[in-house]
């Protein structure tokens, strides 16, 4: 087949398909959710489980419940490779799809999140950057269209410090201890630094910040410095290949692995696998449980995987990042459900879903109904607070799987919220936003 016939074939197909799509019955009862995924490229090991978790939960809703309140969910994956320019292409391609347009967008990349934040209010599509993206956007008064619940990098950093203090035997016991923060040398990696610096001053621990340049395959110098400092604790904000190398280096240099805590992008199965047994004891922060011991997973196996509709490999269900995608899909779906209480059980626009996200109140009881009791924490979003200030769990790698080794650790709200509010003013003004009055909402 020559290129010419191929092209004309494609053209013909498009011409035939075009009118047919237009002739479809008016407004099918479905809502569209764009999925920006990265299943290829250097970050695919993280991207694949997240994408599978997402897709599987939406499939579950459609298969088990027939959608949300009778409205079927549709979605389309678009490959971004974690790159900003591909992210823009995907977003522009997908934002108008479906009868009511994109309901909510999950950018799943720091660069794409920053790129979409200014667009959100213009295109009327809420941006849901769950536990990543711009921390300042957690102040809903300045950023009505951006949501980062259940928690943020800054809350995470404070919760991890609280955990370290608990392990040492009390909040005052951290005084004089040495803590090293190893971070990916990018805006993402640096997010935790100001919070850690403030806490270091308040609690009197000695903080060393060690940057690892992208991509982070060679960290010899970093770990030489770690060896010289001989810290009591290491906290890491890593990404991609940097995680695997760091875990491996720590293990082979003989660092106490149970005093090495990764943030929630540095603690997936794929991050510890290359280090083998050496990774035993490595800890990571998270805001949901790992594993498959919840009712929702049983349903996933029953309604999705046993019917052969699973997005990925059955063995990979329950990986830390798979469950991350699951929680993200669940929170999105619950936000839509919340919005339906106000706007009725019909396909909703992004603007309506935004209201749902802002008024999301996920109680313990509701979590139990969803089959995720104990899987994640109840959460309440308000107009002022798009973060929910959710607590954090610590998980530990035992050589085969992650297990939760802590109670829910609440972040230090007093420190973090003040910082968020200051940053929100600054970032909001940069975009020319004005603060809205939350008393007037609703």
């Amino acid at each position: 087949m020559t290129l010419k016939t191929l092209m004309s074939g494609a053209l013909a197909a498009a011409l035939v398909a075009g009118p047919m799509a237009a002739a479809a019955p008016a407004q099918p009862k479905e809502m569209f959710i764009p999925l920006l995924v990265y299943r290829t490229g250097p970050y695919a090991p993280s991207g694949i489980p997240i994408a599978n978790g997402f897709v599987d939960y939406f499939t579950l809703l459609n298969e088990r419940d027939g959608g949300i309140n009778g409205v079927k969910l549709t979605w389309e994956e678009c490959e971004t490779q974690y790159k900003t320019d591909l992210g823009i292409e995907c977003y522009e391609k997908l934002k108008g799809k479906g009868p009511t347009g994109a309901a909510v967008v999950n950018p799943y990349s720091t660069g794409i999140t920053y790129q979409l934040i200014p667009k959100a209010s213009v295109d009327k599509v809420p941006v849901f950057s769950m536990g990543y993206g711009m921390t300042a956007a957690a102040d809903g008064r300045w950023f009505p269209w951006v949501f980062s619940f259940p928690t943020t990098y800054w809350s995470q950093a404070s919760a991890v410090i609280r955990y370290m203090a608990q392990q040492e035997g009390g909040m005052d016991k951290l005084r004089g201890k040495k803590i090293v923060h190893i971070f990916h040398n990018s805006p993402y990696g640096k997010e935790a630094n100001p919070t850690l610096e403030t806490l270091a001053r308040q609690m009197g621990f000695e903080l060393t910040l060690l940057a690892v340049d992208h991509p982070g395959q060679e960290q010899g110098a970093t770990w030489l410095q770690v060896r010289r400092i001989n810290p009591d604790w290491i906290f890491m904000s890593g990404w991609g290949v940097m995680n695997q190398v760091a875990v491996k280096e720590a293990a082979s240099k003989g660092f106490k692995m149970d005093h090495f805590i990764g943030n929630w992008w540095s603690a997936n199965e794929s991050d510890v696998v290359p280090a083998g047994d050496g990774a035993k004891g490595y800890k990571g922060a998270t805001f949901h449980a790992p594993g498959t011991n919840f009712k929702v997973h049983a349903d996933l196996f029953k309604f999705v995987y046993d019917k052969g509709k699973g997005g990925g490999n059955k063995d990979a269900v329950g990986e830390a990042l798979y469950n991350r995608g699951l929680v993200n899909a669940m929170l999105s779906a619950e936000a839509i459900r919340t919005a339906m209480t106000k706007y009725g059980n019909k396909p909703l626009t992004g603007e309506q879903v935004r209201w749902g996200m802002e008024n999301l109140n996920l109680t313990e009881q509701r979590l139990e109904q969803l089959g995720v009791k104990g899987f994640t924490h109840p959460i309440k979003v308000t107009c002022e607070d798009h973060e929910g200030n959710g607590p954090v769990l610590i998980q530990q790698w035992d050589g085969k799987k992650w297990t939760i080794v802590s109670d829910w650790i609440s972040p230090m709200r007093d420190v973090v919220r003040a910082k968020i509010e200051t940053a929100a003013v600054e970032e909001g003004k940069k975009l020319g936003y004005a603060m809205r009055d939350c008393a007037k909402e609703k």
């Binding site: 494609a10 398909a17 290829t40 020319g432």
Partner: protein
């Protein structure tokens, strides 16, 4: 038949030295430029403008810049991403410090700043050549990005560590920032690239361009006939960086809207270099063709299976796309190592004689 220049006689030197000596060419270019200004803003939807045409125009400008340096002056550079970052961060600093300043002026000023930086990093070119120089320009690439990442002054001490395009208007129309429409941004990018291409075309026809080419073809010989290598090479670095700087500022202000240093990393340098080589070294038209190839082919490959009704898993599709893209690059190089511009020229020759090739 389609393309005939028989009977066209040039009677003055001026007409013989025109950029487009053949009226058909001239009219075609004018027509294409006018069409580019009018049709897309009216006809194209936001997807086409935002995801295809705007990046195409911006990358074209960067490719013209690199083509001046690599294609005309023969200095291989992999610092393009760094120089574009200089333009972007300079534009951000300028427009936040002086909000009243016209944004187009800001673009040009940031181009000048990038040119200054380019001059500094061009100095090693006096001693180092070929691939050695390419790797030396990588020093610029890595150092500049490190600097922008490290020093919070460049992002106005923002906690997010990113630069964002604020709303700025020209003649009452919002050109940059979240509220600027895609059409306006498209027209702005187009205007800049048209002017840029015209200036570049004239530059390479004149004394400067000829001295660049002399240096490229045989630098010692050029020196003997009186071309000063120092001035010529540095001029090439400066002007090339000016173009890259403006393109970098556009990249953030007209396309991304917001960016971190990772947006300018080494892959961007390589991307622009691909455009220049695929399009044709030493050809302004080639810069456009190369940018079109690199921007459009992946998008076409991504969307083609869907348009044909095939639904492949996205991962498989992307891998397939990479393979085809790589294969196409090799294919085109084998068919015509001198780039798409040369292919276009051959087509023109053929059209000139068609349908009677003898």
């Amino acid at each position: 038949m389609i393309y005939r220049e028989a009977g066209q006689f040039r009677t003055t030197y001026a007409s013989d030295q025109a950029i487009f000596p053949i009226p058909q060419d001239r009219w075609f270019v004018v027509f294409a430029a006018v069409a580019a200004f009018v049709i897309p803003p009216l006809a194209a939807n936001e997807y086409w403008l935002q995801a295809v045409l705007i990046p195409f125009l911006i990358y074209s400008l960067a490719a013209i810049g690199l083509n001046l340096l690599t294609g005309y002056a023969g200095q291989l550079s992999l610092g393009t991403g760094g120089f574009m970052a200089v333009g972007a961060y300079a534009a951000f600093k300028l427009t936040t410090a002086l909000p009243q300043l016209n944004i187009v002026v800001v673009f040009l000023l940031s181009g000048l700043i990038a040119a200054g930086v380019g001059l500094v990093f061009g100095i090693p070119s006096l001693r180092i050549k070929g691939f050695y120089l390419a790797v030396a320009t990588l020093a610029a690439q890595f150092f500049l990005l490190w600097l922008f990442n490290k020093v919070p002054w460049f992002v106005n001490y923002a906690s997010s560590g990113t630069i964002t395009a604020p709303n700025r208007s020209v003649l009452g129309v919002i050109v940059t920032g979240p509220n600027a429409t895609a059409s306006v941004r498209y027209v702005t990018a187009l205007a800049l690239v048209v002017v840029g291409a015209l200036v570049a075309k004239n530059l390479v026809r004149g004394r400067v361009g000829r001295s660049w080419m002399a240096i490229r073809d045989r630098d010692i010989a050029a020196e003997i006939i009186g071309v000063r290598p120092l001035r010529t090479k540095l001029l090439a670095f400066g002007i090339s960086s000016f173009y890259c700087g403006v393109a970098g500022a556009e990249l953030v202000f007209l396309y991304f809207g917001s960016a971190e240093t990772l947006a300018f990393d080494i892959t961007l340098s390589f991307l622009v270099l691909f455009m220049v080589i695929i399009g044709g070294l030493g050809s302004i038209l080639g810069s456009f063709l190369g940018a079109a190839f690199i921007v459009l082919v992946p998008i076409f490959l991504t969307n083609a299976p869907q348009a044909m009704g095939l639904s492949l898993p996205v991962a498989l599709q992307k891998q397939f796309e990479l393979m085809v893209f790589g294969g196409l690059i090799i294919f085109f190089l084998i068919v015509e190592p001198h780039g798409l511009a040369r292919l276009w020229q051959i087509t023109k020759e053929k059209l000139r004689l068609w349908p009677f090739p003898h």
